[in-house]
């Protein structure tokens, strides 16, 4: 089984978000970048397939050279090789198209993504990628088993879950449940050393047009101070008469 894990490179969850150039650009100054948390679940599940079922793992990112540290981290966790498409990942549609090129050229049969990147929260790339490839697709995936070319995937739905059967090739958009959080892998010294020897291929993008473009960013309006209340009658009164939510 040939697995591709798509990795997006995002600000750490504790980051304060700032913008520059008249609020048209994200300011990476002082921001620590990490593997998108959902992609860590996908990568760890891929490692399980590698160890138990003899799969090979490639990790891919569409991004500028600064994302290579994140790809190296994925190699240190245990991916076999990495691909970076040398383009700014500003538009999900083109990111998905670039990734689709990789999948077609290298014949991957299983593509594991995260359910969304925690920066732009698009939740778009995996479904687009699957549709460009005409592969099966399972969104919000919280469990995945593969037996030969058959997959059983569990999908989170509003208020429950659904168990799905389908054939490979398959793209999933995964999250916690794919593996448990305590089982997430972190790179060890040996992994880090080995990662240095692993192949990281840089390829040039094939797409030039973008479907969407950010024109500006805004921060939420400053909040008025919290009203501190000392009894529940007053709380009920305010929620009913002022906020009108009960």
């Amino acid at each position: 089984m040939k697995i591709l894990v798509c990795i997006s490179h995002v600000p750490d969850t504790t980051s304060k978000i700032n913008f520059t150039e008249n609020d048209t650009k994200f300011d990476p100054n002082g921001v620590q970048f990490i593997i998108n948390p959902y992609d860590e679940f996908a990568l760890t599940r891929a490692m399980w397939f590698k160890e138990k079922q003899g799969a090979t793992i490639t990790v891919a990112n569409v991004g500028n050279p600064s994302t290579e540290a994140t790809l190296r981290k994925a190699l240190a966790i245990g991916a076999d090789d990495a691909i970076r498409v040398n383009a700014e990942a500003t538009d999900s549609f083109t990111v998905a198209k670039e990734l689709a090129e990789i999948v077609k050229n290298e014949n991957f049969d299983l593509v594991l993504c995260g359910k969304e990147s925690i920066d732009y929260n698009g939740g778009m790339v995996p479904g687009m990628l699957a549709t460009f490839l005409d592969f099966n697709f399972v969104n919000a995936c919280i469990g995945l088993e593969i037996d030969e070319n058959k997959a059983t995937a569990t999908r989170e739905i509003d208020g429950g879950k659904e168990i799905i059967n389908c054939n490979l090739p398959l793209v999933i958009a995964g999250q916690k449940g794919l593996v448990e959080e305590k089982d997430l892998r972190i790179p060890n010294m040996r992994g880090i050393m080995m990662a240095r020897q692993k192949k990281l291929t840089i390829i040039e993008p094939t797409q030039t047009e973008v479907a969407t473009a950010t024109t500006s960013f805004e921060k939420p309006a400053a909040k008025s101070a919290c009203k501190i209340i000392d009894n529940v009658d007053e709380l009920i009164n305010l929620l009913h008469n002022e906020a009108k939510v009960i």
């Binding site: 600000p11 504790t14 304060k16 978000i17 948390p37 999900s92 549609f93 998905a96 925690i118 920066d119 929260n121 698009g122 778009m124 995996p126 479904g127 687009m128 549709t131 460009f132 099966n136 697709f137 969104n139 919000a140 059983t152 999908r155 739905i157 509003d158 208020g159 429950g160 879950k161 659904e162 168990i163 799905i164 389908c166 916690k176 449940g177 047009e209 973008v210 479907a211 969407t212 473009a213 950010t214 024109t215 500006s216 960013f217 805004e218 921060k219 939420p220 919290c226 009203k227 501190i228 209340i229 000392d230 529940v232 709380l235 009920i236 929620l239 009913h240 906020a243 939510v245 009960i246």
Partner: protein, 320 residues
């Protein structure tokens, strides 16, 4: 040309988000000076959408669509969009909406903006505002393609009545083949989900243990609310993972969010910030949640919640 909304049903009834998407679609159609067409599958009463501005309802009745298959539905939306020459396609943000929107976008060779929270600020260039950075910011984004797909964020626009005289047209699209099948669904019946709830009552580690959730459940049931929890609470196994909210859990966009014994860590707030009104109950006046909340009580949950339950019961009895 037209604006097309996909209005999802559950057991024949429109979901709230379907009515919200229709209300929103009506206004986008007005901005563009085009009619609003709404596509729906197995609705008991397709005409219910006239009340929210649907000039035309494309109604599909087909038993083989009772079980949801994203690829099949995304393809049906493409057929409807082509038939109606839709310029804008609007899809809600329920689990199924989030699943199909990117597929529809590729089917129509269209740019998609997900998590959209307001009407387009301009239709040329077509510009929408969306949530990003886990609610820490918004981005204004242009969709360049001839057809535009919008994923409408829940509870961002509201359900707005706008009665029109409409028509119902029955629609029989071709159903594409798919080897993907649903083996089974497991849904907790009768429980309000975080996704659907107007009010969410959420508990944190301050509640000390799973045995203390009785009062959280009771408070939620009086308010008709869903229950939720912070991440450590689900990690500790006090509550199911499906209740975990925050940046890495479920997003909450309810009208009212009540946080009990939750400190208000940045990752927690990121996921609940888009709730309209936030109430915090915490013993520690320095807890960061007080900076993010609208109303706060500094106090012990074990004293405050039972009192709140008692008073709310009286309030509900008087305001029934």
């Amino acid at each position: 040309m037209s604006v097309l909304v996909f209005a999802e049903t559950s057991e024949g009834k429109y979901k709230k988000t379907a009515l919200e998407a229709t209300s929103y679609g009506k206004n986008v159609a007005a901005q563009l000076g085009e009619p609003l067409v709404v596509l729906t599958i197995n609705a008991t009463d397709p005409s219910a959408l006239f009340n929210y501005g649907a000039e035309k309802v494309l109604s599909i009745a087909n038993d083989s669509l009772k079980s949801f298959n994203a690829k099949v539905v995304a393809n049906i939306i493409r057929q409807a969009a082509e038939k109606e020459n839709a310029q804008v396609v609007i899809i809600d943000s329920n689990a199924n909406g989030l699943y199909i929107a990117p597929m529809v976008a590729v089917n129509l060779n269209a740019g998609l903006a997900s998590n959209v929270i307001a009407l387009p600020s301009s239709v040329s260039p077509f510009t929408v505002k969306r949530k990003a950075f886990s609610n820490k910011a918004f981005n204004n984004c242009i969709i360049n393609t001839p057809i535009k797909v919008i994923g409408l964020s829940k509870n961002s626009y509201g359900i707005i009545e706008n009665p029109v005289t409409g028509t119902i047209e029955s629609f029989s699209p071709t159903l594409i083949e798919s080897d993907l099948t649903s083996e089974k669904m497991e849904q907790t019946a009768g429980k309000i989900t975080i996704a659907d709830a107007d009010i969410v009552v959420s508990g944190g580690r301050g509640l000390k243990g799973p045995e203390n959730w009785g009062m959280i459940e009771e408070l939620a049931s009086i308010l008709g609310a869903a229950t939720a929890c912070s991440k450590p609470v689900s990690d500790l196994g006090w509550r199911p993972h499906s209740e975990h909210v925050g940046q890495t859990g479920k997003p909450v966009a309810s009208n009212l969010y009540i946080a009990i014994g939750i400190s208000g860590a940045i990752q927690h707030l990121a996921g609940v910030n888009s709730s309209k009104v936030k109430v915090v109950i915490n013993t520690d006046p320095e807890a960061p949640f007080f900076k993010a909340a609208d109303y706060g009580i500094v106090g012990d949950a074990f004293e405050v919640i039972p009192k709140l339950i008692e008073k709310l019961k009286e309030f509900k009895a008087n305001n029934a």
